[in-house]
């Protein structure tokens, strides 16, 4: 299938250099990015990297005595392309902090406790409807060291392989109603308010006895449109 990747509206994407996030100024290219017409190299991509990447299950909250601390949640995500067509078979990598705002990573310091029952990462593949579901706990916010009081709001990281090289996406998902959302330097780097709003998951009613998990739904749109309408 041929795929088109029209240029994106810059206002729907984050600014590259952010005041109060000094690493962005040291790492963002100073020269203008070079415009190029996509070639076959950009309009192909790894379709089955799952063969190279070990899949981890979508249930990372644990059970009974191994249950992670925090509010249980089911995160139901759909991955679509710009036509609204589901992107099935996409490898999704997610990672998040624990309920106290701590990552299992050498870069995280000692500001909050580790939860022995929570690693906070899942790698899975979307089904034919573009959907995947995670059973996890809601992450906590955390302070960014040396930032003069910037706290990241609760969020979940995603890295997604789409159908072509230009569909590759790294993004973050936020939670509705969080007071820290309004001052987050990363979320608010996206100029367009509607585009920011689309980075926030939707809270849905809990589903079924024993109603023990919050339910959040979220939609992720990868770059790309089918060149020929109707072509599968």
């Amino acid at each position: 299938m041929d795929y088109l990747t029209p240029p994106r509206d810059e206002r729907t994407q984050p600014q590259r250099v952010i005041a109060g996030y000094p690493q962005t100024a040291r790492r963002t290219p100073a020269q203008p990015l070079v415009r190029r017409e996509p070639t076959l190299s950009e309009l192909t991509g790894p379709l089955a990297p799952a063969g190279r990447l070990a899949l981890l299950g979508g249930d990372i909250a644990g059970h009974r005595e191994k249950r992670a601390i925090g509010q249980l949640m089911h995160l139901c995500v759909r991955v679509l392309d710009e036509d609204g067509a589901p992107v099935g078979g996409a490898v999704v990598e997610m990672w998040q902090a624990n309920a106290a705002g701590r990552y299992i990573h050498p870069n995280d310091d000692d500001h909050a406790p580790v939860d022995a029952n929570f690693y906070g990462a899942a790698r899975l593949v979307t089904d034919e409807t573009g959907a995947f579901t995670l059973r996890t706990v809601k992450p906590g916010g955390y302070p960014v060291p040396g930032s003069g009081g910037w706290w990241r709001p609760p969020h979940v990281h995603f890295s997604i392989f789409g159908r072509v090289w230009l569909s590759r996406l790294v993004t973050q998902m936020y939670f509705p109603g969080e007071p820290l959302n309004g001052q987050d330097r990363i979320l608010n780097a996206v100029p367009d308010a509607a585009a920011r709003e689309r980075l926030v998951a939707r809270l849905e009613p809990p589903r079924g006895e024993p109603y023990d998990a919050l339910v959040y739904e979220h939609q992720i749109v990868l770059r790309g449109r089918a060149a020929t309408p109707g072509q599968a």
Binding site: R36, T39, P46, G84, W95, T171, Q172
Partner: protein
């Protein structure tokens, strides 16, 4: 199929400082075999260091590559020749930089895709990079570089920064400067 109204692609964000180390799977930087079967072609090594503005090396930066097989075919249905693609070559790999900013891939020397010089597509993800950075690696001394459409859309004075330097027969160095000095050209697609 009725076509839905166009949706807006989701906003990108940085991977941040906490990309899980277990996502850099053992062997993910070796493209020369798939499920134990050896890919066709000449094995080469591509390596280099990634640095930020003041030249400081960046550790734990994620480098991903995507390339055609030894005959220049992509393993993807958009390539008209994909049915002939090497079944033992996926063409994708991932490496994380070490303390000196170094990354390393073992791969197959790519052939020339139609209308292109042999090349390797590179993307970088890191804390402080709000978008994925994309560049393209070309091979030193290949006469096809000068007619490659991607190579040629870079200002002439900066093209050499896209060229991996030969460090021996099967060994190429491609160091990457994110900003300032000999800044690597990056692409806006």
């Amino acid at each position: 199929m009725k076509r839905a109204a166009a949706l807006v692609p989701t906003g990108e964000a940085t991977v941040g400082p906490f990309f899980p180390p277990r996502y850099v799977d053992a062997g993910a930087n070796d493209l020369t075999a798939l499920e134990g079967r050896r890919a066709r072609g000449e094995t080469i090594e591509i390596h280099g260091a990634v640095r930020e503005e003041d030249g400081a090396p960046l550790e734990n930066l994620i480098v991903e590559i995507w390339q055609a097989d030894a005959r220049g075919i992509y393993r993807h249905p958009a390539d008209p020749r994909h049915a002939e693609a090497d079944p033992d070559f996926l063409g994708w790999g991932r490496s994380a930089t070490g303390a000196a900013g170094e990354y390393r891939f073992r791969t197959i020397r790519p052939g020339a895709p139609a209308g292109r010089a042999p090349h390797v597509n590179v993307m970088l993800m890191f804390s402080g990079l709000m978008r994925i950075l994309k560049t393209t690696l070309f091979f030193e001394g290949d006469p096809r570089n000068d007619s490659d459409p991607v190579y040629c859309c870079v200002p002439a004075s900066r093209r050499e920064l896209l060229v991996a330097r030969s460090k021996g027969e099967d060994n190429f160095e491609f160091s990457i400067q994110l900003r300032g000095g000999r800044e690597t050209p990056f692409f806006d697609d």
